[in-house]
């Protein structure tokens, strides 16, 4: 049975998106992406460094089959900066896929909801397929959806924190009302975090640090891939209701 992740005009088989930061080197990053089965990989946008012309990561990434590069606007502190970064990135990728992220405070990296909303409005009009990284706020999720974002990406917890799904109850509300894919982005630590997100009805998860700084990133990428598949399968299968009391699975009368 087909179970594609549909984001704007794009379709994907994998529901695990990956970031490319913090890997020890490009070789480990590429092996981990392949092991993850991810089809959307996010990258940042930086000034070219003439002293280190090989720092560019596009060439190694493009050797991976069936992959879509999704630039992100990290480093932007305002909507205006994010739009400029997005337009520059599109000149390179020639694709509309964009992870919109605006987090002005380098200490907590929490997304700025107001600037994110303003940028989303503009970028949708510019023809981008916008996936905004956002606080886990159901009202903001709806507003971003209303201005034409193709998905919403609420945070599980702070970027790189490994604190897991601290926003669980808010994610539940976002999922209940969203009509675009909900992708949990940031904070996941373990494959079980990813499985829980998928079981509760998230459409996908985006993982970076949990894989990149694991002791064995390639193995961890595989583990996340399996967890996302298991979580999605469980969601589709329909979890049993939970109750406050016990409900016996065997007869409770003495057998004889």
């Amino acid at each position: 049975m087909s179970d594609k992740l549909i984001i704007g005009n794009f379709q994907f088989d994998s529901r695990l998106l990956m970031g490319t930061g913090k890997f020890a080197d490009n070789d480990i990053m590429i092996k981990s992406i392949i092991a993850s089965g991810a089809q959307i990989v996010t990258v940042s946008v930086r000034r070219f460094n003439p002293d280190n012309p090989s720092a560019d990561i596009l060439s190694p990434l493009l050797k991976i089959k069936n992959i879509h590069i999704m630039p992100n606007t990290s480093g932007a502190r305002t909507a205006e900066e994010a739009v400029k970064i997005a337009l520059a990135a599109r000149e390179i990728t020639d694709s509309s896929l964009l992870k919109l992220e605006i987090h002005p405070n380098p200490h907590h990296l929490m997304p700025d909801p107001i600037e994110t909303f303003k940028a989303a409005e503009k970028l949708v009009k510019e023809g981008f397929t916008v996936l905004p990284y956002m606080p886990a706020d159901p009202v903001l999720a709806k507003r971003l959806e209303d201005v034409g974002c193709s998905a919403v990406m609420p945070l599980g917890s702070a970027i790189g924190s490994g604190q897991g799904l601290r926003t669980y109850e808010l994610l539940r509300i976002i999922i209940a009302y969203a009509t675009v894919p909900v992708i949990v982005d940031a904070g996941l630590r373990s494959p079980s975090d990813a499985a829980i997100a998928m079981e509760m009805g998230c459409d996908a998860v985006l993982v970076n640090s949990a894989i990149a700084i694991a002791e064995n990133p390639e193995e961890m990428a595989k583990a996340f891939s399996e967890a996302v598949i298991a979580g999605r399968r469980a969601y589709k299968a329909g979890l049993m209701p939970s109750t406050n009391g016990a409900s016996p699975t065997s007869p409770i009368e003495p057998p004889f």
Partner: protein
């Protein structure tokens, strides 16, 4: 004339072109975006760009990030 490239000031002859600068710095065309004075320049208009004293050029590439 003075041109600021990625935030640093450089001296060039008055007739220097954007393509000359890209060649000199070994800028990989396919993997790079060009921003001049905050304006993103479309790839097919590089040869039409006229540089002037004080212009700020940023050469942008993709890098790792989550």
């Amino acid at each position: 004339m003075n041109i600021f490239i990625n935030g640093k000031e450089h001296q060039y002859n008055d007739d220097v072109s954007l393509l000359d600068i890209m060649k000199e710095l070994n800028i990989p065309h396919k993997r790079t975006a060009v921003i001049i004075n905050e304006e993103v320049i479309s790839k097919n208009s590089y040869q039409n760009v006229k540089l002037k004293n004080g212009d700020k050029i940023d050469f942008i590439v993709l890098a790792s990030g989550g």
